[in-house]
Symmetry: C2
Subunit: 326 residues, 2 copies
Amino acid sequence: MTDKIIVIDTLGSDEGAESIILGALASLNAHKDLSICLIGPKTLIESKIKELRIDPSKVEIVDTEECITNYENPMTAIMSKPNSSLVKALKKVDDDNRYIGLITAGNSGAIIMGSARFLLTKDRTRPCMAACLPNAKGSFTCVVDTGATIDVTAYQLVEFAKLGSEFMKKTYKIPSPKVGLLSNGAEPTKGNKLVKEAHPLLKEVESINFVGNIEGNKALSGDCDVLVCDGFAGNQVLKNTEGTAKLLIMDLIKYAKVNNKPEYMDAAKYLMSKYDISTLGAAIVLGIRKPILKIRGNSSSETVINATGMLLNFNAGDSLFEGKFN
Amino acid sequence: MTDKIIVIDTLGSDEGAESIILGALASLNAHKDLSICLIGPKTLIESKIKELRIDPSKVEIVDTEECITNYENPMTAIMSKPNSSLVKALKKVDDDNRYIGLITAGNSGAIIMGSARFLLTKDRTRPCMAACLPNAKGSFTCVVDTGATIDVTAYQLVEFAKLGSEFMKKTYKIPSPKVGLLSNGAEPTKGNKLVKEAHPLLKEVESINFVGNIEGNKALSGDCDVLVCDGFAGNQVLKNTEGTAKLLIMDLIKYAKVNNKPEYMDAAKYLMSKYDISTLGAAIVLGIRKPILKIRGNSSSETVINATGMLLNFNAGDSLFEGKFN
């Protein structure tokens, strides 16, 4: 084993463990100084190691076939399933400093509950989940929370704002990240109950640069570096952006084929290289001692390779997301 | 005056009354059998009628300079401002059958409160606001509510579902519109408190074809004809779709210019013709006796011309949105 080991939870993907295992093993070829610790079905993992002729000394295996599904209550599952792949993975990453981070396709709520149980920082802030999306200024907007905490309080939104702001300072070297609050109108009086309660609280926080409400059509305008929202709304921003980008790209491809315009296909490929949000593939848990990347339930092995690269970059002090989008 | 008069509230636009007045008067040239009733500053309206050499017999004027702003509490404003352009417009459209509908750029909440006060149907359903967005199947998805009622109950979501379903039956001739509930996961257990409460209620409604939860990336996949959500989330779907489409189109235009690829510019124009949501310009109030189109606060006169065309189509029994998107 090398000094940098990434823990990978191979269960929890909609596509089964195999695509995650294949991606994890392939990332060993992509990154020579990497070792991995795979949590999952030992027999399957061993057969894939042989099949791909991977050096077995680079792979630690923690055997389990139990996983936490998307249908389970996150807190109950974390407490009652100590042998689940996610709980075993969290314990492992907490184990010693050689484990630099965790990649999992598991239940978002359970990831947050598990992070809070095993990886809290000294100040015991509640962790949240963030994703960085490409914005109109050619930079990235950090959306917090993207779906880990669905029903939140105004005070939690303030915590999310602080965590997102710290993250953008650290990884994108932005001295004073602009923090916006997602709302249905730019006026400070607009919003649902939660947003109306959070707005004055955010204004009071001296450690962040609060720029007020941001409407959905400005979410990725670059008017803010951090977009604060509850997990339900943040999940909509993330997934609606993905869906809309896909809608336009697919339409362009179809139009190119039907009308025999190959140059439109090139334009579609250009857009796909920048805005195929589904292959970004990762949200990051903020506010804990080790980075955890949450990849999609339907992740391909390519996504796993990207995610290991992101964790290695992050470990080396670089931006987490930049590589993927450019 | 002809038999078809559209009432237009000329105040409430961010750009001032002038662009709305100009659009309203220009629509008289576009639609020969149309008359309009303009609610707003009489002197300004009369000067524009002269300037554009419009037949004054086609324009009824209701003089007022008072308007309801976006900063006001909707209910309080409707009750306490009988001379505001919106209240005068609502009374006018309620007046007699020749007034076929209303176009306004006013405060969404006030439009709903005013609709509920002046234009309720016999069954006294609470009205909601809907917009039809182009989907991946080449058809339209009706999003209800798009921002008129921000904090809603599960029972209100059921009403929105029924209204959206009726609307899609009537205007798009879909026999049994598929109704989806916007959530952060496809599983019935996923959602915020509101969604979890609404899901079983929607399942029980016999008059609608409920297909379950729809995630944000599937909002415009065409998997549902009606997408039910609270006004806050629906506003995000509407505006995030607009913002993301604009992000991709603008990026393509920039890339075309920088790299001198005019064929990319053509591709961008194709996308703009279908997905420039901001020029759709209208959401419709459902569940009231006369159609009300809400146009954007920053609407151009072109948007007003489109909106009058939509109301005329609707009055003639055609789809409301089809013309604009194709």
